[in-house]
Amino acid sequence: MTEPIKVLTANIDKPNSASIETYGDYAAARKALAMKPEDVVTLVKDSELRGRGGAGFPTGMKWSFVPKNAPKPTYLLCNADESEPGTFKDRVLIEQDPHLLLEGMLIAAYAIGSCPMGYIYIRGEFYFGATVLDKALEEARAKGFLGKNIFGTGFDFDMTVHRGAGAYICGEETGLIESVEGHRGQPRVKPPFPAVVGVFGGPTVVNNVETLACVPLIVKNGAEWFKGFGTPKNTGPKLYCVSGNVKKPGVYEFPMGINLKELIYDHCGGITGDRKLKAVIPGGASAPMLLPDEIDLPLNFDAVMKAGSMLGSAGIIVLDESVCIVDAVWRLAKFFAHESCGQCTPCREGTNWLESILDRLERGEGRPQDADLLLDMSDNIGGKSLCALGDAAIGPVISSVRKFRDEYVYHVTHKSCLPGTRRYRRLDMPVAAH
């Protein structure tokens, strides 16, 4: 059995883990700021660190896209929006080890040549997390780790915590940029990519909390050490969030690539009530579902992709045999319909249609062609909308129709859920106006 590790989570069990006294004196940042910025970028490239926000894009490469001598200031933004259903790892780092994130941001800012102000975009609901970060920033400023002429190197950097206000789409990097600028969080057309034109018109790097938290560890211990976790191109310590019908849900840290089956049955204690497993969503709500016979696989970017899904934000949602799959997919469809920013027609209209078709199946009003209609609708959304939310919305729909078609058909022919499965909501509940 693979043992859990404590690398990213090394500090979180210490008393006063959020205080700078417990954390230490930013030794990694001292080391990095004594290097040339381009050498820091090379180090991160060599570590093969890939973004933990969802797409798994190589971090060092992203940093190297930032042009030198751009006409506008360069910005570093931390994506702490953590809104992908099933994901709750960044919150642990923010609330319990904020200085690891701040040190990572300081190093990243130096490496990309950021202007003296970076922003941490934290979802508005994480009110407590925002207060922890504000306090940590105060501590770091008081020690001179942030502000002017840091460590006597002439580098100036400070950060501001920017609270979102309840919109999943602001986790998408260009939606986030719009939101920092004070606008509705509607994604931009790419190109230009944020690395060239981002927030306030300047080159911008957007990185996830966990990605940035890896940076001080890489600087301190070296790229080879980092690559010692996991397999080539899928390196580093990784936080996995497990929720749903498991006995011991929570955040687990392993070297990148823990086996999904082992994670569920050995580390999370198996399925609640020892029921049978029905399906697993391996990478947050956007990731296509896997069947029980598909879960013997390493949880890394490439292996999950090969299995037809995605590691995404490593939000693993476990569903047992008592869950009605149509009901579960309806709930996710409702989420995407609510969160669509409304900019492109296929996504705005399509996500609402997916929700209503799934709803009518649950109400016993489904039509024989509905399963195919769902696939057809999905085909009209996927790849035909501006940002990845449209593609995300169809992941659970397509995979469930393909893998549980009999259950969809049963809803139409019997006007009810499969025996032994349940719907959780009450159909007579009025829907609140929004």
């Binding site: 099933g86 994901t87 309840g166 019908n245 609140a432």
Partner: protein, 176 residues
């Protein structure tokens, strides 16, 4: 003139009432001034300024829309466009305790809808409504990023994790 949607701040009965002109109290005024120093544009202060306003008044009334616009040199339409886009800005007054039940998938399969239904039944309100005494508003919200301790109910700024109907019942009388 055609009837405007009642949520539109320009609807006749909601047009800012001059007699209800609003202004930040000194503490919030100071925090607002500090915000201006943290961003390269005034406009970027809009979200944090609206958070400040909601802290003071509990919701973003049409008067507040106009006030915030005047502080940041933005038109009321721009401000309202942002207010209506984001879920957390209340477009009508809410109860002293805003009971926000997450019903997204991980919470749903941990019986979050039982809590939600029970709250509406016990408080005799429909989702989104406020009890007559002004104490409670019940709403269903999307994933709160705390699925490992599902189901989760956010009450004002605080998360209540690993909830169930019995715990909710025990908690309610303490929220006065």
């Amino acid at each position: 003139m055609a009837d405007l949607h009642p949520d539109n701040p320009y609807a006749k009965d909601r047009f800012p009432d001059r007699a209800k002109q609003v202004e930040f109290p000194p503490e919030h005024k100071a925090r607002f001034e500090h915000l201006l120093t943290r961003y390269p544009t005034k406009e970027a202060c809009l979200l944090p300024t609206l958070h400040l306003a909601q802290e003071v008044w509990g919701w973003i009334s049409p008067e507040v829309v106009h006030y915030v616009g005047s502080l940041l040199d933005l038109s009321p339409a721009q401000v309202f466009g942002v207010v209506s886009f984001y879920n957390m800005y209340n477009q009508k007054p809410v109860g002293k305790y805003h009971l926000q039940v997450c019903t997204n998938l991980s919470c749903m399969v941990s019986n979050a809808y039982d809590i939600y239904d029970h709250l509406c039944d016990r408080l005799k309100i429909n989702p989104g409504e406020t009890t007559k005494d002004g104490l409670y508003t019940v709403v269903e919200v999307e994933c709160l990023g705390s699925c490992g301790t599902a189901p989760v109910v956010q009450i004002n700024n605080d998360y209540h994790e690993n909830m169930d109907v019995a715990k909710m019942d025990a908690l309610l009388p303490t929220l006065k």
